[in-house]
Every structure is written in structure tokens, then in C-alpha cells.
Symmetry: C2
Amino acid sequence: MYRLYGMSGSGNCYKPKLLLTQMGVPFAWIEKDTRKAETRTPEYLAMNANGKVPLLEITPGQYLAESNAILCYLAEGTPYLPQDRWQRAHVMQWLFFEQYSHEPYLAVARFIMKFLPPDDARRADLPRLHARGHQALAVMERQLTEHAFFAGGQYSIADIALYAYTHVADEGGFDLSRYSKVRGWLERVHAQSGHVGMA
Amino acid sequence: MYRLYGMSGSGNCYKPKLLLTQMGVPFAWIEKDTRKAETRTPEYLAMNANGKVPLLEITPGQYLAESNAILCYLAEGTPYLPQDRWQRAHVMQWLFFEQYSHEPYLAVARFIMKFLPPDDARRADLPRLHARGHQALAVMERQLTEHAFFAGGQYSIADIALYAYTHVADEGGFDLSRYSKVRGWLERVHAQSGHVGMA
């Protein structure tokens, strides 16, 4: 059985949890709290030198890091990752968009507002994070104006990756009221068979 | 023929240029200077709503963004992207590592030091960028202690992606003298058949 090392409340860790649940694949969840440095122990660093969650144990001693790489691995050969070369490329485009242009703003703003004390110095980063996060949301809104899902004309791991932090964007101070297409897409993702919440 | 929109001197744009050259696939390079906002025009945003380079035109009207998604698309079916499921997953892991834990520090530090005026306020970011960048380099050093290349036991797009900004890390103020395995790997990548420089 897969073992998934993750932190509850982390959108990145929620991604493989959601996919595995929707695929009906059993897995064991092993809680690791990054705020208690549980991913910086020698034992954990031997499994993932980058010291992050999520981490998928495929077999004992065989570990895969990076949330979106885990999604690709698990979805291979399923409808969650299309076989068609162009559709597949499009899924990949949105997965990299998520990690480079979306998560560093939406997830980090949420982390600061939800998990750090109100007087933490990092709150000074929020205006920049909000500006860049809204740029990402505007790109999503534009894509969803013409498409029901991000890639391949159907629900895929691109949607799972982008849903993870978009559906809790309000916790990072993002008001989604101006993004009607994004809100409609959030509802469509939530309505997918086998959907499970983050907490 | 592929058309590749890119900015000379950008590591992200260098990645597909290097792969296409090594594959012997002809392409046209269309220069776009992001510092002159040439990727923020209505015409460009119609091709890539995220307003970034590189961008690959596969056929007129069919565009693929995100440097590492372009690498995956082009390398499909070639030795640069293994077919084996586990090796392939490992390639993906390093591609996402590069965009999330490496490029935002090495590339941004280089941008600040190479392209911004010496008195630019963003130089205040350099200590944080250097600290995080050295964390990424240490993770690479550890992987290369046991492996000649990053994934699959051979040169792949994971190496191309990580080479792009590592081989010019000095321009961002990173001293690689303490990373002997990384330096050896840079030499191995440079020695690959069909290698071409960035400039």
C-alpha cells in the first residue's frame, strides 16, 4: 500500500490525497508537521533530501517527492492524465504554472495569514503576494472563460493541482468575487465523483 | 517548423533551445525582451495569457508555455525522457524541484545582479535568495554524490532544466567551489553530444 507523508491543511499534500481517494486507491497517511521541523530530521532527509511534504512511498525505500510529480506518477494510464500528446502537454503546462505562478503567491499568503502571528514581519510581503496572486487568478479566469476545465476538455490532475490552493484562497485574503468563471470551476471540481475535502 | 519565442540570456528560454539543438530539430527563434514588456502586448498575451517566455508555437495558433512543459512535450518518445514509469517520475520530480526550489533563487539572484542597477532596492533580497539557493545546491550535491545524472541513470531533460541556471550561478553571486559533484556534473552536461551555449 502507498504511504503518503503529508501535513494536514497543506494544499500541496491535499493534491495526492484527493487523487488517490478519487481513484479508489488505498493509502496510509503519515502526518508530518513542517512547523515542528518533522521533515528536517536525519531520518526524513534520508527519504527526501529537500525536506518537504508531500512524499509518496511507493515501496519501502522508493520515494517520490514534489506534489505535481506525484500526481503525474499516480495518474499515468488513467483519465486524470490524457494520453493524447497535445492534451498531455497542456496538463503539464498548467502543473508548472501552478507551482511557479500560482502557489508561491496564494499558498504563501495563506500561510502567513492563517499560521503566523498577526504581528509577524512577513505580513509586509502580503501586498506583493496579493498582486501576483491576482495575476494568476486572472490567467485562470481567462482560460476558464472558454473551457470547463484546464486541459484536455475534462477534469484532470491540472484541475486537482490548481484547486488545492484556489479553493482556500480566501484564507490568504483573496476575494474571488470578481472571478465568476473560477468560482464556477471550483463548483465543478467539488462535484466530481469521489471528491473529498482538504481537512 | 517550430517557432520558439524567447529572450537571449534567459535560462528558462535556453532549455528548449538546448534540447531542440541536441535533438537536431530545426526551429525559428523569435526574440522577445521581457524588460521592454514585449511579452505584455495584446498580441503576445493572446498567445500566452501568462505573458512569459519561452513559448513554443507548435503549429500556427497552437502554443505551449512553461519551459519544463515544453521540454516534456519535445522529449516524449526520445531518450531525453525515459519510458520507464519510475525513471519518468524521477525526471518529473527534478523538473518540479527546479521550478519551485531552485530557479526562484538562482535565477532571481542572477537577474538582480546582472540586469538591475547596483543601487536597486531588490538587492536587499539577495541574502535570502542566496540562502535558499544554497539549500537547492546542497540537495543537488547530495543527489550527484551517488548518481552521474539526476534521473534514470542518464542525461535527460531533468539535467537540461537544472543546468540552465546552475551553469551561470556565479552571475548571481553563488560560489560553486564547495560543490564538487555539481561542478563535475556541469562538465558532463557540457560534454554531451550537440551541446550549445546559452548566449
